[in-house]
């Protein structure tokens, strides 16, 4: 630090505390709402300190069918979300590793064409091609399936580029050494390249897990059957009945539950998270 102006330091902390307070307030209030009865929340103004109904609400959310009035509960929806996020994450990393390996370590016809085709997908996010993609998935009979929920999101130009950049920095001597030792291409990939890439893999894992867990538009179109709802969709469905009919305590308990896994991933893997964020945007 250049100067030790105590007033400026105090002011810095004041600004940051205010900033954190504003950022955290919606989360705090969601938590407070999840500890009261539905009746206490519709009182105006609702209480700003925790109530005594935490376990009831979380139990009702996790295991009760609640306002969904159906054969699903948040426990099951979290399970769906988890698998969707995992399949997207692992799938993206796997196919990106393989295609970056092919592009960097082989010479084959149309290589540049394939490279640009992957690159162009950056310009076609789900949001701009929703209706035709929906049609393709419907025609393949993949509605309401894990395949339909994940496959259209699994291609990744950014991950492919990240691995390509990294592979290009791997010394050629390693390939020569592997060759002299009689290792084939796949052996080199499995025993040398993938272990060397583990930091990039960890960083991507954090970013993609959050991406997969938080998907909304695509599952909204894809899932008509309640047992395939990810939790993010479930919350929205709970609000469908209009303001008056909503059990806000259960909705907020569900929201907290839905935020928990990605928040934990970000906080516990902060180092990888920041690296992943910076790397994938390079």
């Amino acid at each position: 630090m250049v100067d030790r102006n105590p007033w400026l330091n105090f002011f810095s902390h004041a600004v940051l505390v205010l900033g954190v307070a504003i950022v955290a307030f919606p989360l705090y209030l969601a938590f407070i709402a999840s500890t009261h009865t539905a009746d206490a929340i519709v009182q105006s103004p609702m209480p700003l300190l925790p109530g005594a109904h935490l376990w009831e609400n979380y139990q009702a959310a996790l295991f009760g069918s609640g306002k969904l009035g159906s054969n699903t509960n948040v426990m099951h929806m979290m399970w769906v979300s988890f698998w969707v996020a995992m399949i997207i994450t692992v799938g993206k990393i796997a196919i990106s590793l393989l295609s970056a390996f092919a592009i960097v370590y082989f010479r084959f016809p149309f290589k540049m064409f394939c490279f640009w085709a992957i690159f162009l997908t950056l310009m076609l996010p789900v949001e701009v091609r929703i209706l035709p993609t929906y049609k393709v998935v419907a025609e393949l009979g993949l509605l309401n399936s894990y395949a339909g929920l994940t496959l259209p999101l699994i291609a990744s130009a950014t991950a492919t580029f990240l691995f390509r950049q990294f592979f290009l920095t791997v010394p050629d001597e390693l390939v020569e050494a592997a060759r002299i030792d009689g290792a084939g291409a796949m052996r080199f990939f499995k025993d040398i390249l993938v272990p060397l890439s583990r930091t990039s893999i960890a960083a991507l894992f954090v970013i993609q897990f959050i991406y997969g867990w938080n998907q909304y538009l695509w599952p909204l179109l894809m899932t008509t059957s309640e047992d395939m709802y990810p939790v993010v969709i479930g919350i929205k469905r709970m609000l469908a009945g209009g303001e008056a009919a909503v059990d806000w305590n259960i909705v907020m308990a569900t929201a907290i539950l839905a935020m928990l896994p990605p928040t934990l991933v970000v906080m516990l893997m902060q180092k990888w998270f920041v690296k992943g964020l910076v790397d994938t945007e390079k």
Binding site: G19, F25, S99, F106, P152, L217
Partner: protein, 293 residues
């Protein structure tokens, strides 16, 4: 850039790249191609037959005041989200960069919104500002300000802007902080010895050196406001009241899935693709610039 040492195989690279090519072929290029084709076609009222109509769908769109309004709203929305998000995060990052104690605590708390799904961000903010039960609404009422985003267009816009900025603060903050920390300490120290005040140092050294980061974030935030805020809008206002918060992405969804106007929705998709292409090109020009800088 190429490797000197390559593996030799006629079929192996194809096997390796096949999964990626299959996925992008089936789920990216085929649908995108369909969207382009459909944007030049029109279906009759019963969906029995389609005919080629050239640029009619596009002409209709640009003759449609609701679409033009949606364009204007999207522009305003993205400028507000990018502007406010960047300004707030920059202030927080500047102060977070100064301090030593509790820096990790602030940082950890500020990155939480990144993990929150846009639709949940929308739900949280609706809960704060709900006309009947919202806490903020209640206290605003006490101050004599009547909040009802279900009736008031500007308040609805303000609500989705706040929720969108909130969700994006973490991202901007982390990039600004990284940018600030990569500025050589010697520069700041030299200025300090020459008697430059903290304000002066910020204004004449840090801010100019952050301009590449700021420009990058500007593009990213506009892309975010255009495309990733769908969940926030669907949870908070559903495009209403009227059409006042129906930005372009939301309108594609409404017209395609709710109104089943295939040709019109496809034409809108094509326009969105053009916008993404322009934004991506701008972003990559920036990357080239950064190399020189």
């Amino acid at each position: 850039m190429e490797k000197r040492v390559l593996f030799r195989s006629k079929w192996l690279p194809w096997v390796l790249i096949a999964p990626q090519l299959l996925v992008i072929g089936i789920f990216f290029f085929w649908p995108a191609g369909q969207a382009v084709l459909q944007s030049f076609q029109m279906e009759d009222a019963f969906g029995m037959s389609t005919e080629w109509v050239g640029l009619d769908n596009f002409r209709n769109l640009f003759a449609d005041p609701t679409y033009l309004n949606s364009f204007k709203r999207t522009a305003m929305f993205s400028v507000l989200v990018a502007g406010a998000g960047i300004a707030i995060s920059l202030v927080l990052a500047i102060f977070a960069d100064r301090i030593v104690r509790f820096a990790m605590v602030y940082k950890t708390l500020l990155i939480v919104p990144y993990a929150v799904a846009p639709v949940i961000a929308g739900v949280l903010w609706v809960f704060l500002f709900s006309p009947s039960i919202g806490v903020v609404t209640y206290y605003l009422g006490k101050l004599g300000y009547n909040w009802n985003h279900m009736m008031n267009d500007n308040q609805a816009m303000a609500l989705i802007v706040m929720a969108s900025v909130w969700k994006q603060i973490s991202y901007n903050f982390l990039f600004f902080l990284a940018g600030l920390q990569s500025i050589p300490k010697a520069l700041i120290e030299a200025a300090s010895i020459d008697g430059a005040s903290p304000w002066r140092r910020f204004w004449n050294i840090q801010l100019p050196l952050l301009s590449p980061t700021t420009f990058f974030l500007l593009v990213i935030n506009i892309v975010y406001a255009f495309f990733d805020t769908f969940g926030i809008i669907d949870a908070a206002t559903q495009g209403g009241p009227g059409q006042s918060t129906s930005i372009l992405v939301y309108k594609v969804y409404q017209d395609g899935f709710k109104a089943l106007d295939l040709g019109g929705s496809a034409a809108q998709s094509v326009i969105l693709m053009l916008i993404v292409i322009v934004l991506t090109v701008v972003q990559f020009r920036y990357v080239e610039k950064k190399v020189q800088y």
